[in-house]
Structures are given as C-alpha cells and as structure tokens.
Amino acid sequence: MRKQCLFRAICKTLTLRPRHLCTAAASGGGAAVKRVTRENFAAAMEELRRLVRASDFVSVDLEMTGLMSAPWREAFDFDGPDVGYLKVKDSAERFAVLQFGVCPFRWEPSKDSFIAHPHNFYIFPRKELPVDGSSYEFLCQTSSMDFLAKHQFDFNTCIYEGISYISRAQEAEVRSLYSTLEDKFRKYLCYSEEAVDGDISFSSTSDVFFTERMKIQFSEWRDWIAQSSSGENNFDRSSEDSKLKLQTDFYKMRPAVVLDGFSSHQLRLIKLVIRKHFNDLALVHTDGEISGKKKVVYTDSENDKALLMEEVLEDLRKEREAKVQSAVAFRHVVDLIASEQKLVVGHNCFLDVAHIYSKFFGPLPPTIAEFSNRVHKIFPHIIDTKHLLKTDLISQNLMKRNSKSLSSAFALICPHVASDSKITLSVPRQYVKVEVQTDEAGSNSGAKHEAGYDAFMTGCIFAQSCSQLGIDFKLHSAPANLAEHEKLQNHMNLIHTTRCGSTILNLSTDTVILDPSYSKYPKLVLKNIVVIWGFPSNLKPVELKDYMRKSFGWDSVTMICFLDKTAALVQFSKEELVAEFFKVRNSLEKSNNVVSVLHPLLKVLEGGNTRAGDYETYKRICGSRISKALFADQAEAMGIEWEVVAPETEKELNAGESGRSADEIDGEKGLESDRVSSIERILNSLMSDESRHKKRIVFRDSNGMSYVGNLIRLYSDGTCMSYPNLQGFK
C-alpha cells in the first residue's frame, strides 16, 4: 500500500499534465498498470472502449483460484487432445477468475513505438441476479491461493471491490425469466383464472377471519376514497384516518395503501381478496422487487387501472434492465474485444480461453472440436505467444536452458522493456519500443503474476516476436491489418493444449496437430494405452515397467506415465497386448494354481484393488464432474471396475443405453468427407448386424492411415454415437 502511495506521489510531482506518461524502462521493471475495481469501472470502461478500438492488438491474461481440482488432472504430455480438453474444461468450470488483465497496444508512428495501456481488472462473481449459475460456487486450490498471496494478491479488493459479471447464457436465462414474470403479470392484469397460482387453502379459521376483516377494511377505505374524490369533502385525512386502520398514501398520483407488517401468507390472502371483491383496487409492488413495498392502489376506472399497470410494468422493466446491465458489468470488456474482432494475444492461453468462454459466453461444449469452432466464431484471431516463441529460432536460442515462464521469457526477449539499463542500442537485435501510458490516478507499479502486468509482458513479447518474424511496424501504416499480415498467418490461431506443447490446436480448422518438433517421448498411440489404478501404493514406475515386461515381453511397453501414486498409463507396443493384458488378468483371477502364483503381473494386482481400463475409460474419468484427490478414489467413486474392451464382454455393457440421444454425433463435423463416408459404410454394416452392440472400430483408409479410438454405439432405435475425435497415425 505504502509503496503504491509513494509511487503516486512521485507521479504527481513529476507531471502536471493530466495524462501521465512514462516509459516502462523508467519505472524500474514494473510498468504502471491501471487498477480497475467496481468504483472506477464505468469510467475505465469508457476509456478502454476508445483504446481498444484504436489498438492493433489486445493482450490478455487471467489469474484464477486454482488450476487442477485433483493432482491427476494435471495436463500430461501423454494425454490425447480430447483428454487434454476435458482437463481444461474441468478446470475452467470449477475455478473462478479473480483478475483479468487487458492491455491494448497501439503503434504510434510519430514515436516509432507501441503505446501500451495495461489494465488490471479485479473481478468477482458476485450474485446480483436470480440466475442459478454454478459460477457462484467455485473451487479454490489451496496451493494456488497461497501462491497468489505470496505475490501480494489483494483478496480483499477482489471480494469487496471486484467487478461482477454474468455470461451471455446467464443473461439470456435471466431475461427469459423476466419475460415469464412479465407474462404472468399480464395474465394477472387480465384477471384470467389461470393466473391464480395454486389454490390457497384456508387452513385455519383465523385465515377466514383475516380475510373477512380485510374485506371490510378495504371496502371502507375504497368507499371513503370514492367519496372524497367525488368532491363532496376535501381529503380530510386526519379525521378519517383515526377511524381507519389503513394509512393512505399516494402512488403514481393515485391514492394507495401501504401493506406493512403482513406475513407472506397474509399478503397472499389479501391479494386474493382484492382480486375477488375489488375491481377498482390493484395490488402492486413498488420501488424494486425485493426491497420494495406492496401497495394497494385505487383506480377510478378500468382504463385507469390498465394505465397504472402499464406504468408499473414500465418501471419494473427499467429497473430490471438496469440490474442486468450492472450484473453484466465486466463482460462488457470481453464483449468489446470480441465485437471489435481484435487480434487477441495470450501466453499459453488454452486454459485462459476456456475460462473466458465458460465465464462470459456459456457452458463449455463437450468436445474440443466444437469448442474450437465456437471460440473461433467469437475471436477470429488469437495468437499464443508460447507457440510463437517455440517456432521462432532467435527466441529459442535465447531461451534455451532457461525457464519457460512468462516473466523469464519477457526478460530475455524484451530486455529493453524489462530492465532499467538502456543497453538497447549496443545489441545488434532490433528492439521494438514499447511505451506505457496510464492516467496517474488508480495505477500502481505492476508485478509479475498480476494479470494486468502479465498481459503487458505478453504483448511486449508478441511485438518483439513480430519484429523477429520480419514484420516492420514502421512500414505498416493501417493498423487494422496486423491480424491479416502474411508473416503471422503461420502462427495465427494455433494454441498449445498441453503444458509442454506436444499438441497444438488449430482454431481455424478445429483440428489438433502433433507438434512436429516434439520428439521427447515415444509416439502416442491411444489404442495401445491401458490405464491401471489401485495397485499397491509402494509400486514404483520402474517396478511396474519391469513386471509388465516380464509378463508381456521385453519390448512390450513403450512408455509408462504415473498419473499419481495410485494410477498409471501404460502404452503397449502393440494393440493386441491390450487385449492380452486383460486376458492374462482374467485367467489369473480365476485360476489358483502354483504357476499363476508366480506370475509377475500378480505383483501389480496385489492387494486386490487393482483395476484397469482402456483409453476411453481414462477419458471418461477425466470428463467426470466428480473430483477426488486420488485417481483410484475417483474411479471408485464413479463405480468403475475392470473395463475390458475385449468383444465378449461388450454385450454386458449395453443395457439401459437408450437414454443417450443422437445429439452427440455432432463431433463428426471435423472429419473429412471420405472418412465420414467410410464411417457410414461401417455404420451400415453394423446396422445389419443383429447384435447391435457397441463395437470398437479400427479402420484404414487408402493412404494407409489407421484411425483409432473410434467407438460407435448403436441403440435399438437406430441412433448411434461416435466418439468424435479421430486421431490419425501413420
């Protein structure tokens, strides 16, 4: 806090102009970042609108309450793209975003420099509307919270002052709720019988007495009003009120009675009395739905009554609209970036993009292809600087042996921005200048792991990388076409899906490609993978590998990956070994002879809690909404036992499947037409098959590519389901 004040004080003494200008280099590592909370959101939003419109690109960064709901949900290099997506989906659905960094960058030809405006938004999913979203319930990963705390994250600002938001889906939901309420209201106006919501049972005699009393009182009051308005005597309230128990008030220029101190049950009875016996009285809610009072208003004609109701409705509509706008709040920022179709830059932004989609647009779709498709429609140009750095030789050269974190990449790629020293000119590399601009008020010196500053660093890296790709900003005059620049096209819309970047998602084509430069591990063959869990807790990876090799041959296992201490993925060298594995296990379970006691696989099965399944099982477990800390507990909680894909057990699995609808076939969109036709062929042949059970299908096309992991389930009603993400391997 004190540091911040000091910084502000210095700013004030240094500049007398309303806009404070300082180069990032001068501010000693951390650039000035505008801090935006509820308090200054409206003003900041106005400003940002202008800045984003004028910008060449916008970099973003998010800080969340956590990354993984369980250790085994970490992204492993051995996860296929579908599992990788399921893990990211799980994370984005569970954790909240606390900070949203937005930094528009604009090229200023007169200065030969980019002008950056880093903004750090504190956001918090405050519940302001009656939407029943899961966003009001979020998970915190203890270690992440601790990490944020260590980097001076201000949780108080976030919870007390964070800007709220709702997604487009939630907004639609609340609007439809409001329109239903409005319809109900109109029905009520029309006095139609259906509008009476349920009968009220007069459960006691006191209810009857109460109703009668109310009837008398309202009738007296109405008569009195009618009398006075007919002009016989002026409103002599003081004398009349002493007799009447009802206090007269005014509402929209009409006499009214405030209903105060009644229980909700009594209010319902009153409502009923009014509707039944008093045509010229109307019960209305005033000044807000929740806090507002209920009043009974006198109208002198049917017309007047209709008019009153329209007025009330209009008030309500206005009030609701204002509420919706105030609840949408921060989403206006995201909507702005989307509607301006700006080039969005993020660093390792797969998870960030998933968060943005789930928090501000709607529930994440079930498959990665659909996700990619929808994201691409919203943000047509996304650049992942992580990918950009990997493909850029100069950067690779600079970064080898160094940690791959954003801040270290920033220090290496943009030393001219990151450090105080002005060594810029002594180095042969051409540096892109970046200047930071914020207004003096409400800014503080940014630090790493603060979303605003991280976004700024990401943008700087991008600008520098562009220059290294040969983009000359000095020549480039019209700012709008940076996203269209030919030298960027090879990197456009490619984002890394795993931490180490073995797979890349192409948002333009909705396909996942394996990184050609990635050769650290043996090739991933999903159909050869078995997931094993629940084995003895002291089993080491080396031992597991050893037992597997002893059981199935020396070169049977190509890789082993421990998910946690209770589970491992094993990739066999041949697909037949998967079936062999289950067969051996089955025979071991049945027989008790001396030879089988010595079988090496028994070491893995020891304890009787060992279970296994194929890659589809693994995928299913990753897609589950349950999250147990240990993989074995997770599988148990889901009730998953031995999952054998061998054909003879298929039939047992099939009962009760009809609940699954055909809408899950969607994923096939991403397939090329010849593949689809071959799938159709297979489907047709399966349809004629009487067994109509799920089949594992492995087929080859003319190029010798085989597609795996493609399970098709057929139901008796002819619908079918296909796992969408075919992965081709040579």
């Binding site: 659905e93 029943d132 990963q141």
Partner: protein, 518 residues
C-alpha cells in the same frame, strides 16, 4: 492489519460485555502467545462458546448441489451423511472461541467473556497436499463475511493451518526431518550384522580422523572438495557429516550402536525416507561437547517447530476438548447478516444469548461450578443434543409444501424418491401433474408408495405429462445418493425403478448423463 492493533488492547485481559467489546484476532503470527493465554482462560472459565465461519454451505448452493442440503424429511442418518459431505467440501476460515465466566459474586449475574477469533487457512505447510488440496467457496458466504469486515488477506496470508488427527499421524509418518535416535537395549547381532558394523566403524573412523586433522591446517578448496568427493562427506549446517545408507530399522540400531561406542563428538541422526521408514543414518561431527549440546538443542527446536506446524490450530481444539468444559454452540445461520463491523462477534452473541437463556431457565449463577457433576439438572437435559436441521424449506415459503412440514412422523417405507422431471417449478405443480398422470399418485391410500414404484417400473403412466423421464425409487436410493458421491454430483442419477434398493443402471448411461448435463 487493524486486527493486530486491536488484539493488543484485547490481550490486556477481561473484556466486559458491551457494544464496544473487542475480540482478540489471532493469526499465525501471534498464535503461540494466544494459545497460552487461551489455555489459562479456559481453565478459569465456566463455559466455552464456539462459532465458525465456513466458505460455503449446500443450503446456499446453486442448483447443482442444492439438493444436498439437509431437509426436514431426512432421517438422522441421511442428515449426518449430508453434513459429512458438507464438512468435506467447505473450509473454515474463522473459528471463534469464547471462554466465559458467570460471576456469582454480584447480585446481578454478570458474564465475563474472553473472545478469541482464530483466522484459519488450510495452507499446505508441510508440502504434503494436506490438510486439503482444494475447497469450495460460495460467493454469498464470502460476501456475508465481507459485510462483517472480514480480512481475506490476513486469512490467506497469515491464517493458521491445521491438520486433523488422522492427517497428523500421516504427516509425522511422512516427515523428512532428521531425528536423534536412541538405542533400544536388545540388539542381537548375527555374523552379517557384525560385518556391517565393522564396515561402518572403519568408514566413520577414517572420515572422522580426516576431518579432525583438516580442522587444524587449512586446505585449499580443491583438496577439500576432492576429499569430500572421495569420502562422500557432506555438511550439516556448518558441521561435517557423513551419510550411511540403511535399509531397515535393525540396521539403524546397529549403526547407532557402533557410533555411540566410537566417539563422543559424533551425533547419529536418522533421515527418514518418504515412505516413513529410515533411509539413511547421518553422522554429524561436532567440534566439542558444547558444540554437541548446541546441535542437540537445534535439533530439538527443529522438531518442536515441525510439531507446531503439524499441530497448527489443532492445539486449540485439544485444549478445548481436554478442558471438559461445557461447550455452547448456536447454528450460526441466522446470526450472519447483522452487519456489525467486527469479526468474531458471533461468539459473543452466543455467549450473551446463553446467559439470557440461563436466566430464563432459572439457573442460578451459583450452580455454575467448574466441576462437571455439579451442574444443574435443568441444563443437563439440554446438553449434547443437537439440532440436525439447519435449513427450513426457505424456497417454498409459499405454503406449497405445508404437508411436508406438518408431518410429524413417517416411515421411510412410505417415502418415494422421484426425480428426472424438468421444468416443474414447484411442489404444488408437481403434485398436480402427477395426480393427473396416474391414479396411483393419489397419496392417500395405504401402501401407495409400493404401488407407485411398481407403476413407474412398468412405465404405465403417461410420460407426456412431464417433460423428461420421471423416475422413482425407494428411500434407500435417496440415502445412497448421499453416501455415494458418484450419484451426488449428478442432478439425475439414473437408477432402475423396478427394484430400487439394489439395482443401479450400468455406468455408461450414467456417465452419459454427466457429460450431457453440461
């Protein structure tokens, strides 16, 4: 930070009940002193009141897990299971303890209270993924804490961590700090053992001699590092040390036996492995007997620090539980929105309320003696009785479920668990629709539960009435959803309706539900 300033005033001592009552705020920075102080207060107190602040509750949950809140219709067992799930899902951020005395001396009974507010955060102090990997928050709960001026930064930065007793055992088991070892008397040794001992003896002796000599004349760094390389010696703090690999407790005993006989200036330490068993014996060479004492003290401090970290807030619970004082708790649900700008005041409200209640129950202050047995009988009949239901059916205040609330006793045999209907907004509408669907939904006749299950099982009623497939099962299925988390996460567990107690639908469809629900 203002909390700490306040705590200084509070630590003076007794705080009289009043509007400006000050609650001592405790974080990990002042935890040790506060615990000592609290121990004394508890010892002198008549009663202890307790109140907590959780990060969320199922009753304020969104539709996803809202059904997991405790309902009046739940049996005690179901209610317990739901409470258990809640305790496993949410965390405590605040734990207020208030030992208090009721002064019997004055004619008007006066309550003297000593409120303490402990800030908790399940920080993983030991890197063991404990006490919790993650926890759920409800924004509504955080907001209501914010309304009371809760300082989240203090909580997350300086909150006291804790482990349950079970976790504590695990943590001790997994701890990797070196321990001083003691020899158990009976170490029988075989031939192999004596060989092992001889080998250690010569190795350690050699190593010790080298170090004793090198202490006298200064070697150049190259020689030192070469020697280190050859001897495998390392440094423990500033002292030279040597690692001896062992593979069993027996070998540890043997090694220690040799080392104790060998020399006075070496201290053997056991380095535990990750799994809990010994991994190595570390031999530390001290320069003198004073130095040895210093080392031993250091080790003791280290262990105490470790224990303190492991115990964390658990100490407070132990103090309270071992005091055997009566504990007063009030379901804090209603007391949360009073907007007092101070933290930990609930505990004072409870205290005040208890004092009030006591006077209502005509319990004379004289009856409060610290001894347990001497308590007044009228109070005795209230102790250890909990109210399991925290929630009323708030969402249905419109009187539609009046029938449910009015039921006094019912057999679970007559209860049917219905689910799978969507777009039905209230109990009244559901009832109406069901009654229209089939005459089995008459609710009045005997054994209608059984009949209903049969009808639903045969699929005999018109599905068109309800938008989605209606399913039904007995009460057991409902209990099962609470026990088995796998069902709990789904809005619509798919169970077979025909024989509800046992049969559970095969998994694929259940998973299908799960993924489809998104």
């Amino acid at each position: 930070m203002h909390g700490l300033a306040k705590s200084k005033q509070a630590s003076r001592g007794a705080v009289k009940m009043g509007k400006e009552a000050v609650v001592k705020q405790v974080t990990k920075r002042n935890f040790q002193e506060a615990v000592q102080e609290l121990k004394q207060r508890i010892f002198e107190s008549d009663f202890i009141s307790i109140s907590t602040k959780k990060t969320g509750s199922f009753s304020s949950s969104s539709s996803q897990s809202r059904w997991r809140r405790v309902l009046p219709i739940d049996t005690p067992q179901t209610a317990y299971l739901k409470a258990k799930a809640a305790a496993e899902t949410f965390e405590l951020f605040q734990f207020s303890v208030c030992p208090f005395r009721i002064n019997s001396s004055s004619s008007s009974s006066k309550v003297v209270a000593f409120p303490y507010n402990f800030h908790l955060f399940p920080r993983d102090e030991m890197n063991l993924n404990m006490p919790s990997y993650g926890f759920t928050c409800h924004t509504s709960h955080l907001m209501s804490m914010a309304q009371e001026g809760f300082d989240f930064n203090v909580c997350i930065n300086d909150g006291i961590s804790y482990l349950s007793r079970v976790q504590e055992c695990k943590a001790k088991f997994q701890s990797t700090i070196p321990r001083i070892c003691s020899i158990t008397s009976s170490v029988s040794s075989s031939m192999a053992d004596s060989l092992f001992m001889e080998r250690i003896k010569s190795r350690v002796q050699n190593w010790r001699n080298v170090h004793k000599c090198s202490n006298k004349n200064k070697d150049d760094p190259l020689v030192t590092s070469l020697r280190k390389l050859i001897l495998g010696g390392e440094v423990y703090g500033s002292r030279p040390c040597l690692n001896i690999d062992v593979c069993s407790d027996h070998q540890v005993q043997l090694a220690v036996k040799v080392l104790c006989l060998l020399s006075d200036d070496i201290v053997p330490l056991i380095i535990p492995g990750k799994g809990g068993g010994p991994m190595a014996v570390k031999v530390v060479l001290t320069s003198s007997s004073e130095d040895k004492n210093v080392l031993l003290r250091e080790l003791q401090n280290l262990e105490e620090e470790q224990n303190r970290l492991i115990r964390g807030f658990g100490t407070v619970i132990d103090v309270i539980s071992s005091s055997h004082k009566p504990i007063v708790v009030y379901n804090p649900l209603d007391a949360e929105d009073t907007g007092i700008k101070n933290q930990g005041h609930n505990v004072l409200r409870i205290t005040r309320m208890f004092a009030q209640l006591s006077s209502v129950l005509k319990i004379t202050p004289a009856a409060y003696e610290p001894e347990m047995d001497d308590r007044s009988a009228s109070l005795n009949s209230y102790s250890n009785i909990f109210h399991p239901f925290r929630t009323v059916l708030q969402d249905q205040i419109d009187g539609e479920v009046a029938q449910i609330c009015n039921m006094e006793k019912m057999s679970t045999e007559n209860l049917v668990f219905l689910w799978g209907f969507r777009g039905v907004v209230s109990a009244g509408v559901l009832k109406q629709k069901l009654q229209g669907a089939h005459n089995v939904f008459d609710f009045e006749c005997e054994d209608s539960a059984k009949a209903l299950l049969e009808v639903v099982g045969r699929g005999e009623f018109g599905l068109g009435v309800l938008e989605d497939g209606l399913k039904a099962a007995g009460y057991e299925a409902y209990t099962k959803t609470t026990t088995e988390y796998r069902l709990a996460v789904e809005d619509c567990p798919v169970l077979h309706s025909r024989s509800p107690t046992k049969e559970v639908a095969p998994l694929p469809s259940r998973i299908a539900r799960e993924t489809k629900d998104d």
